[in-house]
Amino acid sequence: MARFRLKDSDEYYLALSEQPKRFDADSPVTNVFFDDSNGQVFTVRSGGVTGVTVTGMDKSKSTSFRMEDRGPIISIKFSPDLKILAIQRNQDNQNATVEFVNFKDLAPTNVEYSHTCKWKNAKILGFVWPKVNEITFITDHGIELLQVIPDKKQLKSLKNTSFSCAWFSWCSQSNIVLLAGNNGVLLQPFSLNNSTITKLQKLELEATRPVVERDVFTLRLCDATWCAIFRHAQSATVAAPGPTEVWLMPITGPSGFHYTHVLKTGLVGRFAVNVVDDLVVVHHQASQTSQVFDIMEQSKPENGCVIHIPVVGGVSLQPAALGDGPCAMYSDTWVVFQPHYIIDARLGCLWRVHLIPAGLAHSVPKDEISKIVAVLLRRTDGKDAIYRVLNQLVAEAGTYLVQLSDVFDEIHTVYRKWADLEMARNTAGQGAPADSSRGGGRPRVLISQAELCAHVLQQHSEAVHLVQVVTAYVASLARAGLVVQQAAAELAVRALVTRGAAARLRAMLRRAALQDARPLACALLSLGHLDPAAAQLALDMLYRLKGYEEVVEVLLSWDEPVAALGAARQAGLGTLPPRKLLQAARAHAQAHGRPTAFTAIYHALQARNERTRGSPHFLKGEQCDSYVEYYKQITAEPQ
């Protein structure tokens, strides 16, 4: 199968942020912590005595300070507003306690306090900040939601739930915590929104295949929250272990997400997962590749499961540079955090993973181009890559006409869906709130007809197969049930006429593939001297549009004064200046030597005068004297 290669594109579709955030590397005296909620790296030197440095992706989240060393730190995290620092230490002899330090302008104040969780013998597995001034302790006995009152140096218990838990996974974007119980067979999600704890539908796994902590992630993807689980083949029982799959099980989200999505990696070994622009990225260390999966792609569910394969073949992340030299990729010291962070603790680097949309189209089997464009249509920055793909397809339309047509269809399907939603929203009235969270918002990439014409079609006025391309475009619009807007119609007319495909244009007009519109009719009229059939259709169109005044003008310019009078009368244009008609009639009479047209019109106008004003004479303001003279002259008895 021939492959489509996007010009000037790299094979890489994923890259690390150009400048990593640097921090002190992990060492015997330095401990490194990462908080994925705020995206901050904490480097704690000598237990904080020689300093704590906080590095965030942006400067406003970076700071450094000193603190006392009160024992080894297990976890350290700022509250979302960066005003309270919470520290959990390993203190075997004490109760489960978390320390708090109030901060002001990213600098510590001397206000310190601590809180012990309600279960006396519990072990704190971790804590999370679901909200400003709200903290949740996750313990092996259950979870406790507390309100922090920094001014009073107090915490107030809001809610707690008992659950026997071994480990947990936290999703900061949706404030959902997933607790693992029953030796990793039962996964119980809780929502920590609205200052309360809500128990959600539990996920039960096969008793024979429990999961371990490193294989479970809670992800926010496509406005839904998912539990992602690496399902490794059971190597103990099977001689040749099968490849690893990633199972995405829905926790909460808009309706429509009730299937388990199975991502087939086709690989075995160590994996890590990121979410980049609603794509699931599965990094594989052994092969140094990162696969991307799009769960929004069209596929049929089977047995409640939707199977996905990578969007394109796995390629490594774009090699990053560190200082002057290359940076080791996929190294053992990499730690991957949600949703899109990668940390190399030994090098002291924090990166964000981002998508290079054009890379997805770098090398695509010919018949998968439209699939890739569909994927790009769901990406935030996909538009540019789509234009590039389209421009190349149009330039090489001789090879890619079918694919081009499919790509147009993808674009128009998205547009149509959006237009329908807009329509429904408008008809529902102002009372209905814009419900963008339900997946009904503006699509990531919405390409209007004007944009497509400006960015793609207009660039190719010299293309060899322009006629076929324009036909495919208009055909695709028709399939999607979209009205061809003025920009596209103008372009189609120009392209077809300049390429000698006027017959095709007329055939389209006859089948109403281009909708009636005044500008279109005018464009066709102006072609009339080259192509009389176009003018014929233009006049029909004006008539259907009820543009009677224009019809009259056209007929007058075609030297058809009698027909013009008829049209004027039919449209009830009693106000049409008689001078105009008489002038055309006299010109006609003199040119053809047939005065009958003039007399007919003269009589009709007189009858009109009689009817409207009670007298057959023309008004002075109508300036018809010379025509009255002419009438007398041609109707005079021969001497």
Partner: protein
């Protein structure tokens, strides 16, 4: 009805420059039908025509068009300089003796414009398949004409139908999505097989797409619809279709898609070209859809090429054909509601589109158009006679003595005729009825108001 054998007295082609000297008269006659006519009789008829044409040229710059005698009518047509085609038909006449016994042949006559069209289309057909007369040498031309015109004349069967009075193309009304399916398929075909040109698409007997100059298209369309396809449909009815359906489709030309020597050559002009070129004709058919393609004669048509074409066209064409079939059924249901009790005819001079009221003739033979009515329509259409002159814009209502009202409308290069059989109507009622029919049947088409 022109029954060829009964009506056509003779049909001949001559060129006076081929035998300028006395005694060489027979050489001037390129073709003569019926061929068994004696040489003397042939010479006499041709001589008469030569003389009349020559004589008339002293009066007018325009070449002579017709000659009428008591028993015959001669129609002249000079397609190329010096080449004259003449059609001679017997016309009804009465003699004193015959009228005395009440016998008359007056009801059955041939409309002159139909005869002229017959001449013209026979020449166009000749030009499409053989080329211009002047391109043939004197040695060849006699046999070429004989081979072409004898079967052609014998196969022509002109009934008294509006379709023979107004020569047009029946376009298939199709919704835009089905139309685009056809068009995109043709684009794809042209891209993948650039050697194939002038692709036309016909469904049943209705044209959907053509890439030819309209004039040439009419000729090719007439050839396909009147002569080639009826034969093929006949074959399909007798079982050939089953085998064809198994293979998606089949080649009509060249037969079975592999016999090179049987390739047919045609002269055609594409829409964007200014001159006719010679091509091989390839016709492919599936279900009711027929695709007509041409290949430049300089391209060697190889069996593999046709096999690959078959593989490409076959599956796609059959899906398209079934889509169109569905659309046609829907369309038929819609038009059934619009069924008009009066017969109408629509013709667009710019694209030769021709449409008549849904053919009730097959179900109700009584509503077939009477020859007199047809003759009036032919007169209005051909615009020859002053008293029915419509020009580019006008309307005329004619009442025949036997209760027929014929309305002809002309506007914006379109013609519209309505035939109403109503004894006790008045002019206003007829005009109103025509307006109503025009509005319901020709929706969206602008006829200049009166």
């Amino acid at each position: 009805m022109i029954d060829v054998k009964a009506k056509i007295s003779s049909f001949f082609i001559f060129n006076s420059s081929f035998g300028p000297r006395e005694g060489e008269e027979l050489q001037r006659i390129l073709y003569f039908y019926p061929s068994q006519t004696s040489a003397d009789s042939q010479k006499m008829q041709v001589g008469l025509c030569e003389a009349v044409i020559k004589f008339m040229s002293t009066f007018s710059q325009k070449p002579c068009e017709a000659l009428r005698t008591q028993t015959k009518k001669y129609i002249f047509y000079q397609p190329e300089k010096g080449y004259w085609m003449v059609l001679v038909v017997r016309i009804p006449y009465t003699t004193k003796a015959m009228s005395a016994i009440g016998e008359s042949k007056g009801t059955d006559f041939v409309i002159p414009s139909v005869m002229f069209d017959l001449l013209k289309s026979s020449y166009k057909m000749f030009r499409m398949f053989r080329g211009l007369f002047k391109n043939f040498s004197i040695e060849e031309i006699y046999s070429v004409c004989d081979q072409f015109f004898t079967p052609y004349i014998l196969s022509r069967n002109i009934s008294n139908d509006v379709a023979d009075v107004i020569q047009g193309i029946n376009y298939l009304p199709l919704d835009k999505n089905s139309f685009f399916k056809v068009l995109c398929f043709i684009d794809l075909l042209e891209l993948n097989y650039p050697q194939f040109k002038c692709i036309s698409f016909i469904y049943n007997e209705q044209l959907i797409w053509n890439g030819l100059d309209t004039d040439d298209m009419l000729t090719l369309y007439q050839y396909l619809v009147q002569s080639l396809l009826p034969k093929e449909v006949e074959k399909e009815i007798h079982g050939g279709a089953v085998a064809a359906a198994q293979r998606h489709g089949r080649f009509i030309y060249p037969p079975e898609g592999n016999q090179e020597e049987k390739l047919m050559k045609v002269y055609l002009k594409r829409e964007e070209d200014s001159e006719a070129k010679q091509y091989y004709l390839v016709v492919y058919r599936t279900m009711s859809a027929t695709i007509c393609l041409t290949v430049d004669v300089n391209v060697e048509v190889q069996p593999e090429m046709l096999r690959s074409l078959d593989a490409f066209i076959g599956p796609q064409l059959s899906t398209i054909a079934s889509t169109i079939g569905e659309q046609c059924t829907i369309h038929a249901l819609q038009t059934a509601q619009l069924l008009s009790e009066h017969k109408f005819v629509y013709f667009n001079r710019l694209n030769l589109a021709f449409k008549t009221s849904p053919s009730v003739t097959k179900l109700h033979p009584s509503t077939a158009v009477k020859p007199e009515v047809l003759s009036i329509i032919a007169d209005i259409h051909t615009d020859k006679k002053r008293y029915v002159h419509l020009g580019n814009y006008g309307e005329i209502i004619i009442k025949t003595p036997d209760e027929y009202w014929i309305t002809g409308k002309s506007s914006n290069d379109r013609e519209f005729y309505v035939i109403i059989q109503e004894k006790n109507a008045n002019l206003k009622e007829i005009a109103d009825e025509v307006r109503r029919i025009c509005e319901t049947q020709m929706k969206g088409i602008f006829f200049y108001p009166m």
